[in-house]
């Protein structure tokens, strides 16, 4: 246990009654009152997550934009200062090292990467960077909170200045929250409107406490709800849906790959896959009988395996077993009936459209 790391919010989690688990080398809250209640709080009202374990890598230098254009899959020239973009870091074969959000700031770019991938991302980016580009791992110094749900602005209003509510989806601004200088961004991983707040790690507990002290206090939410929320939206998770074994194209992320300009590692392969199709595609699945699909469960048609579940859970919003799966392209159409082998028990399922719920992070906040 001694080599597990804790965020600066660890004591706050324990005080809220969190169940703590080992996640990517961190002792993180998986749930407080229960995954289902936290999940529904975010869909219906507002929840607060500690995501300080995530990584922040800064890329600084005159040619940073050109460098990132040649390193990441999305077209980074489409964002200017105060804007964020979903993108991927490919390896030389076009496999995925990580998916990430790139923020264009006034004088630098900030890349927010998965906790489990900080080291490989930093090694890759620093390794490719020319001498006049500085790549700095800020992860240990940065605290990060995600305030997510339609009532996010109610919780943030009393303690933020200026009020960051004019921000559009995927925009970011500097602000003070609870008197702490922060970067506040209309981003998230839940499918609900909301913000992510980055600050000096030592100051994160002050922001947490201030949000929890507002009249419209969010519910404390753990990694369990974070996972079920993203799954209902069909958002991929590195290690489940994304890996070095596949390009982003098979995962349905062509929209985040700038194939028109290309020039990044793996672009030719991705272009080819985009034109010819991939043998397997990532789809949403729902069981049509009781049961819960889990990562690793085989997906069958007529007794033949046609794919594998990559993530699965009981959807708290829908009350049915739901998951994501890679299935052979000919079975990747909505409405196709499949069987999921759940530890030896066949369960009827069908391919569904994503997102599975009627949510969008672009929705306006409640006033």
């Amino acid at each position: 246990m001694s080599d597990l790391r804790r965020t600066t919010l660890y004591d706050a989690h324990v005080a809220e009654g969190a169940k703590i688990v080992d996640f990517a080398g961190w002792e993180m809250p998986v749930e407080y009152l229960g995954v289902r209640a936290e999940h529904l709080a975010v869909r219906e009202r507002c929840g607060l997550f500690d995501v300080s374990h995530m990584g922040q890598i800064e890329v600084v230098g005159k040619g940073a934009r050109d460098f990132l254009q040649a390193t990441l899959t999305n077209d980074i020239t489409r964002i200017g200062p105060g804007q964020a973009q979903y993108t991927l870091l490919p390896d030389d074969n076009g496999g995925v090292i990580d998916d990430l959000l790139a923020y264009a700031l006034l004088d630098r770019f900030l890349l927010v990467v998965n906790a489990s991938n900080i080291d490989p991302c930093f090694a890759r980016i620093a390794g490719l960077a020319p001498d006049d580009i500085e790549v700095i791992n800020r992860s240990p110094d940065v605290g990060m909170l995600a305030l997510q749900g339609p009532a996010w602005a109610k919780a943030l209003t009393p303690i933020a200045s200026p009020e960051p509510f004019s921000l559009a989806y995927m925009e970011a601004t500097e602000a003070h929250v609870a008197g702490v200088p922060c970067l506040v961004a209309r981003t998230g991983y839940t499918g609900e409107p909301g913000v992510e707040i980055m600050c000096d790690a030592a100051e994160a507990p002050a922001i947490w406490a201030a949000l929890m002290g507002t009249p419209d206090r969010p519910d404390a939410c753990g990694l369990g709800a974070r996972d079920t929320l993203r799954l209902e939206m069909g958002y991929p998770l590195y290690g489940n849906e994304l890996s070095r074994d596949r390009t982003p194209i098979a995962a349905g992320l062509k929209w985040a790959c700038d194939l028109k300009h290309g020039g990044f590692p793996g672009a030719e392969r991705m272009q080819r896959e985009a034109e010819e199709g991939t043998p397997e595609k990532l789809v949403g699945i729902m069981l049509t009988e009781k049961g819960i699909p889990r990562g690793g469960c085989p997906v069958l048609v007529d007794g033949q395996q046609v794919g594998t579940v990559t993530s699965g859970t009981l959807s708290p919003s829908l009350g049915v077993g739901a998951g994501l799966a890679y299935v052979s392209a000919e079975h990747a159409e909505r409405g196709i009936r499949l069987t999921v082998d759940v530890r030896g028990k066949p369960k009827a399922a069908e391919v569904v459209t994503l997102p599975m719920v009627d949510s969008s992070p672009r929705k306006e906040h409640h006033t």
Partner: protein, 132 residues
């Protein structure tokens, strides 16, 4: 959720299952510790009435949103009842693990197996060893 308790009238298996013995029949369920470790139970996959369960082997599964847990039979026998209420409302395992959250009733085939189970004091002692 419920408060931690281990009733004195039950017998306990080290895989965190309990048995309430009534003559040659017994009711099985999982302990407070088991439901707490699993979190909110959202799915119960029970055996069928008439199935045979074997001491130390799995007879069904409980699932939380995040995890799957085998349910281990504390003693062998034939399933004579399944708690359908838990199939419909699995959270009963959390709210009332020794009452409405019971899982199956069996007709014991080898009642002598019960001697291997722990009483509440021994089970509490066993739990304190797990967390040390």
């Amino acid at each position: 959720m419920s408060d931690e308790s281990y009733p004195a009238e039950l017998r306990y298996h080290p895989e965190h299952d309990w048995a309430r013995v009534d003559g040659d029949e017994a009711t099985f369920g999982v302990t407070w510790y088991a439901q707490d470790a699993l979190g909110e139970v959202v799915y119960y996959d029970p055996p069928a009435v008439g199935d045979t369960v074997t001491a130390g082997s799995s007879y069904g599964e409980l699932e939380s949103v995040k995890a799957v847990s085998d349910i281990i039979a504390p003693a062998s026998g034939e399933v004579i009842a399944v708690n359908d209420k838990v199939s419909d409302a699995p959270e009963l395992v959390n709210s009332d693990p020794y009452g409405d959250g019971w899982l199956i009733k069996v007709r014991l085939s080898s009642p002598g197996e019960l001697d291997a189970l722990m009483d509440d004091a021994a089970y509490r002692e066993y739990l304190s060893g797990l967390s040390a």
